[in-house]
Assembly symmetry: C2
């Protein structure tokens, strides 16, 4: 059963509308989910621990007497770290080191300067007091995700990182706990779903309220995060994952096919797109896809994803490829070409850019250093990878000298009166013509 | 008629709950507004210009034949700049210069580094292609707001800044247009409300889609922004404005009263709070409030705001004042004390911090340099003033050498297999043990 992958050609008249159809993604709200999430959040907000216990029994079939029993000790995390295979522990530690090293370069410093009047202006950068990290349970429990979400928070100087992870029927994922130990997560509660988001947003008797909630989750978790936004900060609401590969036709087609698969295996909605000026190469990659697909463990997911959402796009040249890429603003962009640096200048929007034939996206997903939490569905047009900056905020500093207040008070007075705000004007005018 | 202002004392047992009550702000969604906004957005999304014309006729009573007629030319903006009084033009220009100078220091640079394998890692910073700026019409039309929203976008290097501003019954505010000219706004459309937000988010035949929408607006505009978030970026959804003054009791009580008024005059929901260790000073400020209130042009608004939402809080010392301030995470924080630098270290959360007795908040609102668009309702715990960084985004750069891909591919392989993602593993493994 061969996979039929869509073919598009950028020089066709209707290419723009074909591309729009390919990229269309329905993120409309499910009202039943919404209702259910609002109910859960309201219960957690008003009844605290009691509600957490009820929902955890209902959804995860865990029957305990207190939320304190749902907390995992640091000893338990260390135990998980000792329990996992040596090669996995070493790999997690190597990945964590590289992620930490990269993110330290994102640290922002406070700054101040003085103008000629002696007036001080500046920007003070401070970390959040507390961050909450949602980690999915079950099949989609990814230790790499724990590293990618927790390490930037710790590098930013967040006082306390609190992780929540569901353990349905008490099933614990030691790799996830080991990653939490390596990343330096401060506290772990085995609570999941909208109830965990509610606990982090509002706080309960046992689970402290945080200032921002990050991390992936299912539709209930995503809806809950959207709902509590404003009470706390949230990271992005992610759509399905995507990869866009631009190839000059000189990379091994098997490599490219596997790179496309690495995105497609995430889920049926994941999107894999290849752009090349070389029509024969597109054929060769399609042949590789059909050759390799039967050998894949997640062949069914990959087949559905490739059939429904993948595309091979022919362009005139690499410059046109860059233009199409900018239209898409992909989450992951592989520049599998001879001179990626030259092409980089033409790329305006992408979550992460993988330069050259050796840079498989999978390397970035785990251990290159940069974050794997990236803007999806074209949101790279206006948003950024998760980073240290997501766990810091800025305060403006303004310190007027008497002389500066005199001089700028006159300007403020004119503008405030122009806007009809006379208390503003008079407040500024009090500081004018002082006799110091 | 004296104003009765709430008095709180931080050493009272129930202070925490009293403070929580004082700060409580109902931002629950109005379902009728929601319905109406969704309808407008859907019409604009599906019918474009035609819908814009209909809604503009309905809400602003402007009857034109095409959306092109709703665009204001650069000539018209320059005409406004010539039409306003000289002192206002000069004040706007001085304010714009200072705002530009401050914001240029927020510009972020791309960076790259190479590790020992020759692997390149970095972060590429790029501006948004297009930003949309909503400016309210009528009474709340503030030229300072045009400067504060447009200048950071231009400093960030945004390609095109598109302003929308309603002109109900054709009434145009020349100060606002003059500010647009000074700030370098690229295009102006006299469209407002949810229909303007829809036009900026989805684009119409005449109004181009943008990547991010910023700027204040009424409940319809705020609801529409929340609704289109994801399709485009948005700035914060602002709550009522607030000021917190910490005073050691040595500032002229009239100054402090007027500083509190400058917040209270915005609207009835605005919040003004004074914290001092000096009970007599709290009395003196209350006396000043009652003395000055009858002299204020917006006395009714101020009276309601001060009665409903203001408070005078007594603390033991300035350190306790800082603690209470961190609980509040105020939008504006005045440190009206002898040694503001010493207190600054204890301040963890605030939108903007005004240092010393001469630094009236009003100076910051207009012309100090830092932005006056600030996080409200305690969101300074996790968010920042509007800045150049809001109009830029980052892309991670990853470029593995053959040697680096070999080394890190092994790590990725172990982790990917640990997560059951074998396409990821095989994609990395293709790059291992190459013979180059």
């Amino acid at each position: 059963m061969t996979v039929n992958i869509k073919r598009l050609n950028a020089s066709q008249n209707d290419f723009d509308s074909q591309l729009a159809t390919l990229l269309a993604w329905d993120d409309s709200v499910d009202h039943q989910v919404n209702e259910s999430v609002r109910h859960i959040l309201h219960q957690v907000k008003t009844r605290g621990d009691e509600a957490i216990l009820e929902f955890t029994e209902k959804f995860d079939r865990l029957n305990v007497d207190s939320v304190a029993e749902l907390e995992m000790s640091q000893n338990r995390l260390q135990q998980a770290l000792r329990a996992i295979p040596e090669d996995q522990r070493v790999a997690l530690e190597q990945a964590a080191d590289r992620v930490r090293d990269y993110h330290e370069r994102q640290n922002q410093k406070s700054w101040q300067y003085q103008d000629e009047d002696g007036t001080v202006l500046g920007q003070k950068v401070t970390p959040l007091d507390r961050a909450g990290l949602y980690v999915p349970g079950g099949k989609a429990a990814y230790p790499s995700s724990v590293l990618m979400n927790a390490i930037p928070a710790k590098v930013a100087g967040v006082g306390e990182v609190i992780m929540v992870v569901p353990t349905p029927d008490g099933v614990v994922n030691d790799l996830v706990l080991a990653a939490a130990a390596i990343a330096g997560v401060d506290r772990v509660f085995t609570v999941g779903g909208a109830q965990a988001v509610g606990a982090l947003a509002y706080g309960t008797e046992t689970i402290p309220a945080v200032d921002k909630i990050v991390g992936p989750g299912n539709i209930f978790v995503a809806t809950a995060k959207r709902e509590v936004f404003g009470t706390v900060g949230i990271d992005m609401i992610a759509g399905p994952s995507e990869i866009l590969v631009i190839c000059d036709g000189k990379t091994d087609p098997d490599w490219i096919a596997m790179d496309l698969f690495s995105q497609a295996e995430h889920d049926e909605q994941a999107q894999s797109i290849l752009i090349s000026p070389d029509a024969d190469f597109l054929d060769a990659v399609e042949a590789s896809i059909n050759k390799l697909l039967p050998t894949m463990e997640r062949a069914d997911i990959i087949r559905t994803s490739m059939t429904d959402r993948a595309a091979l796009i022919q362009v005139t040249d690499l410059s046109e490829a860059a233009k199409v890429s900018n239209r898409i603003a992909p989450e992951h962009l592989e520049l599998s070409v001879e001179a990626p640096e030259a092409l980089l200048d033409e790329i305006r929007h992408a979550g992460a850019i993988f330069m050259g034939r050796y840079t498989a996206e999978a390397l970035g997903d785990y251990c290159a250093g940069p974050n794997h939490v990236l803007p999806t569905s074209g949101t790279a047009r206006f948003s950024s990878p998760l980073g240290v900056y997501d766990f810091q905020k800025r305060s403006s500093i303004i310190g007027f000298s008497a002389k500066g207040a005199d001089r700028m008070g006159r300007v403020a007075s004119v503008l405030a009166r122009g806007e009809g705000l006379t208390a503003h004007a008079r407040s500024a005018e009090y500081r004018i013509q002082n006799d110091e």
